[in-house]
């Protein structure tokens, strides 16, 4: 008798567990993900077999199946990061539209810009040091002449410079 009770209790627990698992799975699935939900992730991935084609616009049958795979994974409750990770594991990092190593991406242009800026700044310092500052502007100016206030005050030097330039 007690053995029967025990067995029945075991069956009941098993049934309860199965029922609980089923309900959890149904609850986790929720509504079918929309095309927009799929495209939001597909946009961040490239077609694994075509050249430079984002997955959300790729017209091939293979890409259509991959988009369906994203839909299924979303329905299974997978997160965006998990889905992207799945694609990376199966097709390599080339499917991501942004490479995984962000530092390597941005460090090179940032260093190049900084180096350029430092060189330019040093150049300015070098060019401006022997500040003779005193030759009248050459060529056209974007500002009407009446507005441009010449730094040069000494009329004599101005005339001298003018003469030298004429002789050249």
């Amino acid at each position: 008798m007690s053995r029967n009770i025990l067995r029945n209790t075991q069956y009941a627990i098993l049934l309860l567990l199965i029922a609980f698992g089923f309900v959890t799975a149904v609850l986790a699935q929720g509504p079918t993900p929309s095309d927009d939900d799929v495209n939001k992730i597909a946009k961040q991935l490239f077609c694994p077999v075509c050249e430079s084609t984002p997955l959300d616009v790729c017209p091939t049958e293979a890409c259509r199946q991959w988009r369906e795979l994203i839909r299924e994974m979303l329905a299974d409750g997978k997160s965006e990061a998990e889905i992207k990770q799945y694609f990376v594991e199966h097709f390599g990092a080339r499917v991501l539209n942004e490479p995984p190593n962000r530092f390597a991406s941005y460090a090179v242009p940032a260093v190049a810009f900084l180096l350029g800026a430092i060189m330019l700044f040093r150049g300015f310092q070098m060019w401006m040091k022997p500040s003779k500052a005193d030759i009248a502007p050459v060529g056209g100016s974007g500002v009407p002449e009446s507005e441009a206030k010449p730094i040069l005050q000494d009329d004599y030097i101005a005339r001298l410079e003018e003469e030298v330039r004429k002789q050249k």
Partner: protein, 756 residues
């Protein structure tokens, strides 16, 4: 027979080009003007010869000679004649020949000019242009012969230039494969020629620069001689890029115009250095400075032109292995390396003679701002170059270092990666923002002596407090801002841009305060009526600032002239622009750039999209628009070899009926390729862009539509039209000022002699 004739003429052209190069070198070496003249005439002969070659190829294309492999691959009987002609540049071999043909046209034009005063440049210009052309012709003659015919051998059917032993001519196929449907769009018919025109015309200033380096005549003569060439080259390249964008928008069905694809970037990189060069040469002309830098820029532009062609033609983008196996890839690589090393060696050789004649007097002078502009263009170039070559490097390292030394896997990316739009957008946007800021200053700065005093003295306390202003709220609302921008990198970048703008406005406050107030009002209006997105507001402020400063300067100058000359305002404006085309053409280009920026901002920041499957009578809502699926029809157009599936959708804005759109799916039988043609409803406010999604079945029961609303995008196309006007004004040939000067000089001499 005709194909062999075409190939024969091609070989003769190749030999004539080689002769021209050698005759020019020996003529110069032996000091023999007649030999140099012979080289010049040989170079002039290349264009008619190549035109004849091209004529033969077009004849074969138009008359369906499918025994020729190239004709078989790019045409079909169903294609209209004009498409058969344009199929010339629709494949590898033909496009290389097209490159050479354009190059010969430009070289002939250059050698045709009078050389009286620049005789020493002539042989070297011929050599540089000739070597470039011989390289491309050599590709056609030895590796990519457009006249190769199909033969049946024991090993199968293949294309050969000459009939191999033990083979028979393969019976011509009944029909060809036809041009890739994507390339049949009008934009794609004009886009490659424009791009190629831009590419080859940049060879001309490069040839003159190298001639200057070789001869040692390193003054700015070479720049003056090639000024218009450079502007026209820039025009073609710019317009080629814009047309490519329009083509992508209309045909690719991505809802956008630019995807930061390596092929697009390949054409964008020479544009960047070319634009930097255009600005930088003005400093050399006006102030005699940066001669070395200008040389370097034009050398780089040439290298990038060849590099761009290499990227698109060698197959290197699909994989490094494809490049190694392709016939032309390694040769391209060697050619780029050799020309770059030679050019830089020559530059180093002449380093001393390229010293500047004056110094920079102020950090706010026009030359200083132009240098800053150059720094920004070069930085954008580095961003693009790194983005393009990084996938190649990772693929290469995965196959080499990572295999040889497994420990390297800890430090290197040991698998091929893709660099997509997020990288380019984040890395380039601050650089573009500062470039726009510089455009605002362009009309206000002047050559030489513009000093801070002119714009108001710098009060360090005022400056510091202005710079601190955005830091305090940022510190308080750091978390919210970080949330709004997604991450701390973007937050810091935005903050830095705001700081640079504030510092800049403070420095230029004397000349820019009215425009600053105007731009602030525009931004406030945008905030109240359009968007609260802070990046968009900063961008709108910058665009408004540039537009107001530039328009104000145009108005002021025209008004001053109208009063001084007692002219009507419009007449005064016309004459003002006519008298100084480069400056005012430049202003118009800046204005057009800002209109284009409005379009780019609109689509980049405010684009919204949705996709859904609907049955007839059902609706999709997006932004203020509603589209209602009405009906669908499908039919074959057998003569054209296409199946059309065309949907009819009604569109409404806020419930008001606007009309109907016809998004389409075209399926090309020959190439088995689908194409999505969007239905577009375009206004200055936005574009409603409806695609019939071509990978889903479509019937009355249900069809899948992808709908985009692209705000402000049409300003991009309007801006590009104004851009064209601006460049044409700047590049339009003027009366040769030298001749006028020479004539005036002669008169002065005559007078002096009489006086004596």
């Amino acid at each position: 027979m005709i194909a062999q004739f075409g190939f024969g003429v091609l070989v003769v052209t190749f030999l004539v080009t080689l002769y021209s190069v050698f005759a020019a070198v020996f003529g110069e070496y032996k000091k023999s003007p007649s030999l140099v003249e012979s080289a010049r005439r040989a170079m002039l002969l290349t264009w008619p010869l190549l035109t004849l070659t091209a004529g033969v190829l077009i004849y074969l294309l138009v008359n369906d000679h499918y025994e020729v492999q190239f004709v078989y691959e790019v045409t079909s009987r169903s294609m209209p004649t004009y498409l058969k002609v344009t199929a010339w540049w629709g494949g590898q071999a033909g496009s290389l020949l097209f490159w050479s043909w354009l190059m010969s046209a430009f070289t002939s034009l250059v050698t045709f000019r009078k050389w009286d005063r620049d005789r020493e440049f002539l042989p070297w210009v011929i050599v540089v242009a000739g070597v470039t052309m011989a390289f491309f012709l050599g590709m056609n003659v030895f590796f990519e012969n457009p006249f190769a015919q199909l033969y049946q051998t024991f090993e199968g059917v293949a294309a050969y230039t000459f009939q191999p032993a033990n083979s028979i001519p393969f019976p011509p196929p009944q029909d060809g494969r036809g041009l890739n449907p994507l390339l049949r769009h009008p934009g794609m018919i004009i886009h490659p020629p424009m791009l190629y025109l831009g590419f080859v015309s940049f060879v001309v200033p490069y040839a003159f620069a190298l001639a200057a380096l070789i001869t040692g005549r390193t003054d700015d003569r070479w720049i003056r001689l090639t000024r218009r060439w450079t502007l026209w080259a820039w025009l073609f390249l710019s317009f080629g890029l814009v047309l490519g964008g329009r083509w992508a928008y209309d045909v690719l069905g991505w809802g956008g115009y630019w995807g930061w694809d390596p092929v697009e970037i390949a054409a964008f990189m020479p544009w960047l250095t070319g634009t930097a060069f255009l600005h930088s040469v003005m400093i050399q002309e006006k102030r005699g400075m940066f001669k070395t830098w200008n040389m370097l820029l034009i050398i780089l532009t040439y290298a990038l032109v060849i590099f761009g062609t290499f990227l698109t033609r060698s197959g290197v983008l699909s994989s490094v292995h494809a490049f190694a196996q392709s016939a032309i890839g390694p040769l391209f690589f060697i050619f780029i390396g050799l020309t770059l090393i030679t050019s830089v060696a020559l530059l180093i050789h002449r380093w001393d003679s390229l010293r500047g004649e004056t110094e920079i007097k102020s950090m706010l002078s026009r030359e200083a701002l132009f240098l800053l502009n150059n720094l920004l263009f070069m930085s954008i170039l580095v961003v693009c170059f790194w983005g393009v070559i990084r996938p190649l490097l990772t693929e290469l390292s995965a196959d080499t270092i990572c295999k040889w030394y497994p420990v390297a896997q800890n430090y290197l990316t040991c698998q091929k990666i893709t660099v997509g739009p997020p990288y380019y957008e984040l890395a380039n946007s601050p650089l573009f923002a500062i470039l726009v800021l510089l455009m605002a200053a362009a009309p206000l700065s002047s050559w030489g002596l513009t000093s801070i005093t002119k714009f108001g003295k710098v009060n360090k306390i005022a400056m510091a407090s202005i710079l601190m202003a955005p830091v305090i709220p940022t510190a308080i609302w750091w978390d919210q801002l970080r949330f709004e921008f997604g991450n701390w990198t973007t937050t810091i970048i935005v903050l830095m841009i705001v700081e640079v703008i504030l510092a800049f406005l403070y420095l230029f406050r004397g000349a820019m305060w009215q425009a600053t107030i105007g731009a602030s009002l525009v931004t406030a209006l945008a905030f109240a009526t359009y968007t609260h997105n802070i990046i968009a507001l900063i961008a709108f402020f910058l665009v408004a600032l540039v537009l107001l400063v530039t328009l104000r300067e145009l108005y002021r100058a025209a008004n001053a002239r109208a009063q001084a000359q007692d002219e009507n305002f419009l007449v005064a404006l016309w004459r003002l622009v006519e008298r100084n085309r480069r400056r005012y053409g430049g202003y118009i280009i800046h204005i057009s750039m800002m209109l284009m920026a409005v379009g780019i901002l609109g689509i980049e920041i405010f684009q919204v999209e949705t996709q859904g499957r609907v049955a007839a009578g059902e609706k999709i809502n997006l932004a203020n628009y509603t589209i209602e699926y009405r009906e669908i029809a499908s039919w074959d157009d057998n003569p054209k070899g296409v199946n059309y599936t065309r949907a009819v959708v009604d569109i409404y804005e806020n419930g008001i009926y606007l009309g109907e759109l016809h998004p389409r799916k075209d399926y090309y039988f020959e190439s088995q390729q689908p194409m999505s043609i969007p239905g577009q409803y375009a206004t200055l406010k936005d574009d409603l862009y409806v695609l019939l999604v071509d990978w889903e079945p479509a019937s009355m029961e249900g069809a899948t539509f992808k709908v985009y609303v692209n705000p402000l995008v049409n300003w991009l196309w309007l801006g590009s039209l104004l851009f064209l006007v601006g460049i044409i004004i700047a590049a339009w040939p003027e009366k040769d000022p030298e001749r006028i000067t020479v004539r005036a000089g002669r008169r002065v001499q005559e007078t002096s002699a009489a006086d004596d």
